[in-house]
Symmetry: C2
């Protein structure tokens, strides 16, 4: 799917950039901090004045100033002198370390005793020690979490270049599908996919566009797809549970001039009937109609692709936090299919982590609700035995 181009970029303000991906390397034009700062409450000193100090033979220093927050102190510290300094306070000239309050005593008048020797730079953040002017602060393709935003704020960077949020046309198809506010007639079922896939699209930082449900009818599907390609940066169709409906979807997509069917049927379970096509640089993803298959295929293909469009590297799905766990019961899989097994996770008091395959037929949506994640069984593996350490992608 790396053949598709990323969207164009825009600049957003810091406060709307959460969970987007940086579109370029972001470079600082300042040193952080801009002046050496204390990281503790104590006394700014010249470190060499403390060499040899101990509880029994403390060093004596004269306190000649008190550093105020928000100002560069105008005093210059000379040998034998100290300046009281709060956490975050800027060091006076001449000082090169800070003694913590706890390791000092008042010694009468303006003098203090220092009980410990400290090294140059102790309890000090030097100018530019956090970030140097010219340094890359956030690399292109990195997701912006609270800490990235905090660092950018500290550097005064308020306009963040990010890729546009993909607009995703989400179209459910099928003669048997009715919208969720309707009471299905016998034989009909409600449209779970529009809602679950749209939620997954939102959770991936993209914007779903809601479409009406389309019956298994070539003309209606064709005009809905056309509108989807017009409004969306990509189109996600779901449906075609049965062979006939699957063929219909592929036929309709193929009928678009310049459309290219890139995959039709993939060696995964669940999700075999998945279709991927391209049309004028836009992707068309055909998910299976079954709600469980549709959601798993969306995890495997759609979520990584949506993140890729937003500037993240293209990584193999399913996406989530990867962790190792001990398999609590055996998993049997079919050679020739990459299989995604739903598991629940438990953790013992001692920290051992177990993956429990969720009981129940594959088609049950309730098994998805019970699952905390997926175990991927590779295509040429017959399964895993109870007690094996497996990788779980947790949601």
């Amino acid at each position: 799917m790396s053949g598709f181009a990323r969207l164009s970029t825009e600049h957003v303000s810091l406060d709307t950039a959460l969970h987007r991906w940086a579109a370029v390397d972001m470079i600082s034009t300042e040193d952080l901090p801009e002046w050496a700062r204390s990281t503790v409450d104590g006394y700014a000193v010249r470190a060499e004045d403390t060499f040899g100090a101990s509880d029994s033979i403390p060093g004596f220093l004269e306190v000649t100033a008190a550093v105020e927050m928000g100002r560069i102190p105008d005093t210059v510290l000379r040998a034998g002198q100290a300046a009281q300094i709060p956490t975050g306070g800027f060091l006076p000239s001449g000082a090169d370390a800070v003694v913590m309050m706890e390791y000092t005593n008042h010694a009468g008048g303006s003098c203090i005793e220092v009980m410990r020797p400290i090294t140059v730079g102790a309890n000090v953040l030097e100018r530019g020690e956090d970030i140097k002017s010219g340094e890359t602060v956030v690399r292109s393709g990195k997701v912006l979490r609270s800490q990235e935003l905090g660092l950018l704020a500290a550097l005064g960077i308020d306009r963040i270049p990010v890729y546009l949020r993909p607009r995703v046309a989400v179209i459910s198809t099928g003669d048997e599908i009715v919208s969720i506010e309707k009471k299905p007639r016998p034989g009909q079922i409600r449209d779970a996919n529009s809602h679950s896939i749209s939620a997954l699209v939102s959770a991936s930082g993209a914007d779903p566009i809601a479409f009406d449900i389309i019956p298994d009818n070539a003309n209606m599907l064709s005009s809905s797809l056309e509108r989807g390609l017009d409004l969306g940066d990509l189109v996600v169709l779901s449906g075609g549970s049965s062979v006939g409906a699957r063929d219909l979807m592929v036929d309709v997509v193929s009928s678009f001039e310049g459309a290219e069917i890139m995959a039709h049927g993939v060696a995964i379970r669940p999700g075999k009937p998945t279709m991927l096509a391209g049309w004028k640089g836009k992707a068309i993803l055909g998910l299976p109609g079954h709600p469980v298959s549709a959601l798993i295929v969306a995890q495997v293909f759609l979520v990584p692709f949506l993140r890729y469009l937003q500037g993240c590297g293209l990584v193999k799905g399913p996406l989530g936090h990867r962790m190792n766990a001990e398999l609590a019961s055996s998993i049997h899989s079919t050679i020739g299919l990459e299989e995604f097994i739903r598991v629940g996770l438990t953790r013992t008091a001692k920290g051992a982590c177990f993956a429990h395959p969720v009981f129940g037929k594959s088609g049950m949506l309730s098994t998805m609700v019970k699952a905390d994640g997926l175990v991927v069984v590779p295509i040429n593996t017959e399964g895993f035995a109870r007690g094996d350490m497996v990788e779980v992608v947790s949601w």
Copy 2:
């Protein structure tokens, strides 16, 4: 913090319920599926008609009907008969299993050969097998992911009871703090905390309310806090890096009639100067002024509390995905303090996971950006050795 009451609840539509927490047990009033459905393309049969079938001695069945999607079939299957059925099709009366297409052959006329015996219920999702009427679909306190929303959609449940999103007044304090669009004068620093804490509030499903920066002045802090308590469901102050400013914050909170200081100074690092107070059922959290400490304390106390207010159980922070990893270098910690160590995570091709303590002084924001998560060193532990398996809370 479980002494604070949760917020009141509201009903939201399915499409706006993503990542909120169910406020009550949600019960189905329907069976899912409402009628036995096929999970494959094939032939609906009476299982006993296939007993003994094999490649060499196939069973012969007469195909008397074809099930259409979206309709309950009106045929009744009798001994020796089969009905063609698509994936998702509803079983005709009399049928109790589905033979996959792959295990059948056309045998001339309307007859098929069946090569395999199948058991009752094979390739069928029975009525109510996924969810039974009266069954709890989503338990109170469970977060709503795409799959929960899919299941609720399938059951026609479109009004979801959830707790209100907490409104959080985020107030930065300190004489040295200026807003990020300003160029700091010598001695001043930009307000990283408003932005990073607000982002963390948003990421926790709550709504931050932006406030002006307040200098270390009792009257101004008092009126800002009053406004924060008026507009917000809780107030997060940050600042008071130095002893004097810390005392000021506590004095101002204490001056509110009925305010109760519940903690002032906690045995964690970073984050010792944290303050927790309550006033008329609303929490006031005082974070350290230092951006790194503020973010870690917010992870440890604020994020779990915001989730608790929204219906999630109160769990000990920091919050994130918990995984085990091997420590790549030793960590030294102080007895008497629970310590949070920033780590980067790497994973070998074979799946082994390593936690690398991030190099750099604790006060550097850049170390937060380099970190993938935290290792918690318990209060009475001196640290962990290289090679120890540790639990990482990944962000």
